[in-house]
Subunit: 430 residues, 2 copies
């Protein structure tokens, strides 16, 4: 079930892999202690890039879809993790309400919701779907490709509680990133658990805040196992609001792109890496790789901005508003000839599976989360917590997956820091 | 990976299976609440018999071996369950000491110990093996068939703590059933966790006490999902000390065998079951199917006892001391032509895998835990928590395994009651 991979694993990463394997009890204990101090998000998915010499998360999703892409064999792991989560949150709970994305759901998204329902039903909860989309005015039965059905009901607010008709949940699970802002119906819910909390929505979240937290985590983790945090941490810089259509609107962008490229060049030199550095400019707010731009040289940036000033339509790829400029991490993983990027799925503090995002038409330094993407389940079932300590570094897929599981969990720790920083109640206490 | 099974599933069991599937959220919640009240044993394995019309545990082992028989794909489940257990018991723990069986370990047992070490290392603990066998006087390196090695060290008592040289564990895991009685080295340990506790050893344990607790559990569970508890509960009776070599030594045995056969006959009649009832007479104390006797008729008993009085050597199968007379549950499962009996493995409150114990030479009403037994991993990875609610009752292997997982956990709940009843500290409080 392990997809055939071609990875140009070179020195540093093999060393990292070996360190992780040797330090497994230390690492797992470190996570255990972190989770005593910090509350993991209910769930998440982490996009990881493996450059051969560097392994880093590039995006952390706290309202993950794509659950149907996980290998069926990994589902008991998800169920067990969900059971552990429920025991902590609301052990006496009978009911769970899942709030899906707004808008007309694709058949893929429906399959993902169905998988989530299956996981949490098996974990011991009655699951129903409550939409906060104003367009959903009555209970709607939607057909899935496999012939099964899924019922979408309008979420109802009754005084201080949210549910659907004749269904009062203990916990409300958001699978909606609230990009349009938190709707009134979900605000000031003090009697029910809303997970992940409102501040995990994209009106509050900033990628830069997440990676600031991740930087902190990677430093502490790097110290723990004695490796340079850069090997697992993508550098970044931010600009405030930018609009390259304004004169001088691109200045901060230009300066920071240049500065970051220089930083990366230095690191590449330090490790004798022959690759050409690049940065990715993306909206600091919002998921789904909207407005994302790969820049290898400031000149490219100038060309792009000039061009998009001349013909604004062509500038679709240039993000507006707050942007983050992030060190680009190549993916040196391939499935056949297509660039592949692992995505790790987590429930509570457990790695429950993952898959490869594969895109035949996209380059090794481009965003793979785009139309035309295919998915290949990762053989996490037999793998993530079970590396083969005997196998040579870089030679074993299970070891690779254990490494991905560690990086995914580091990003989850960062997300828990992030949600504390933006927790209104904790702020009020300060 | 699912072994090809032939099971004569008839009415009652299909109905039971359907009830369990429909009630999954109710059942899982019920377990959740049970585990809030009662502490699950650290681990266990449960032998289950599936008669087609009846499904029941026949033996619950609180110091299970055979871990190497679990399918590799189920290991992440075991690791995750172990992580959950550690978080509760001793989250800051670095070290775990495993106390193996006494005596010269077989290569099978070594493989089982190695698997346990692997599971708990991946869960985040340094694992070492401390033997309490007086014969183990110095650290001994043992070779496994696969070429790897395992080090057995003599357990050391230093004041109030037990460990091995330069190794001070937070938790001591007993994989030794203490049939010879609790050794002084393990008594009065108030600073470390000894799991399972001393009263889980066979000097204190009685099968009859376990099945008394299980009867209570099965009644409550039967009420929960609305089924006759007999469908999941094996009837039993006990005699005190017996020695059939004494005149009148077999009287209680004779009376109770007769009484139990009558009870079973009545139940068979109620359900229109055509099978011939039988009982199993076994030692109430001690595991590993020692001295176990299948009796279909009191006349057989008389013949056996007479015979063994004439030639005591032939009476090896007749248990002495305290015995339990248990309703025999046929196994109607087959792998090819061999009688098969599922064994479910648990860590903390989670089902982590299982296998079929298969014996070609043994009959459907005989003990399969005997020389010549083979093991076939159960495909629990894709199964136990993920029944296919759509499949027809009895038609789906995953559904079967979910059912086994439920029965296994019911036996584990019974074991937790049992360990409370015999807990010296709880006794002191009464």
């Amino acid at each position: 079930m392990v997809p055939h991979l071609v990875t140009a694993l070179s020195g540093p990463l093999n060393e990292l892999e070996q360190r992780l394997l040797d330090a497994t009890p230390v690492i797992e204990r470190w996570f255990r202690l972190e989770w005593m101090e910090h509350t993991p998000p209910l769930y998440g998915s982490v996009d990881i890039r493996n450059a051969g010499f560097k392994l880093a998360p590039v995006d952390t999703n706290l309202h993950p879809g794509g659950w149907h892409n996980l290998a069926a064999a990994t589902l008991p792991l998800a169920v067990q993790a969900a059971q552990a989560a429920i025991e902590k949150i609301c052990p006496e709970a009978r009911n769970l309400l899942i709030v899906p994305e707004n808008g007309q759901p694709s058949s893929f998204y429906l399959a993902s919701l169905q998988r989530l329902e299956q996981i949490f039903r098996m974990a011991g909860l009655n699951v129903r779907f409550g939409s906060i989309d104003p367009a959903v005015k009555r209970s709607t039965t939607l057909a899935l490709p496999d012939g099964s059905q899924l019922v979408l009901e309008p979420a109802q607010r009754v005084r201080h509680r949210v549910g659907v008709k004749h269904f009062d949940p203990c916990t409300i699970m958001l699978n909606n990133d609230l990009a349009a802002g938190p709707p009134g119906i979900l605000e000031e819910l003090y009697e029910q658990y809303l997970l992940p909390p409102l501040q995990a929505g994209w009106t509050v979240r900033r990628k830069s805040r997440h990676f600031k937290c991740y930087e902190e985590v990677s430093k502490r983790f790097g110290k723990l196992i004695g490796v340079d945090p850069w090997l697992i941490n993508p550098l970044y810089l931010t600009c405030g609001e930018i609009d390259i259509h304004e004169p001088r609107g691109g200045e901060c962008l230009r300066t920071n792109v240049d500065a970051l490229l220089t930083k990366i060049r230095r690191k590449y030199k330090e490790y004798g890496i022959k690759e050409k550095p690049f940065v990715v400019v993306k909206a600091d707010q919002g998921g789904r790789g909207m407005g994302m731009m790969t820049v290898r040289d400031v000149k490219d940036l100038d060309r792009l901005t000039d061009q998009s000033r001349r013909e604004p339509t062509a500038g679709a790829d240039i993000p507006r508003g707050e942007v983050i400029i992030q060190e680009g991490v190549l993916t040196h993983e391939r499935i056949h000839d297509a660039a592949a990027e692992p995505v790790v799925y987590l429930i509570d503090r457990y790695v429950v599976g993952g898959f490869y995002r594969v895109h035949a038409e996209r380059g090794v330094d481009e965003n793979l989360n785009a139309p035309g993407t295919k998915f290949v389940p990762l053989a996490f079932a037999g793998a993530p917590q079970l590396p083969q300590t005997s196998a040579a570094a870089g030679a074993s897929a299970p070891n690779r997956f254990y490494m991905y599981g560690v990086i995914g969990r580091l990003a989850l720790v960062a997300a828990s820091y992030e949600l504390e920083v933006t927790d209104p109640e904790l702020q009020a206490m300060d």
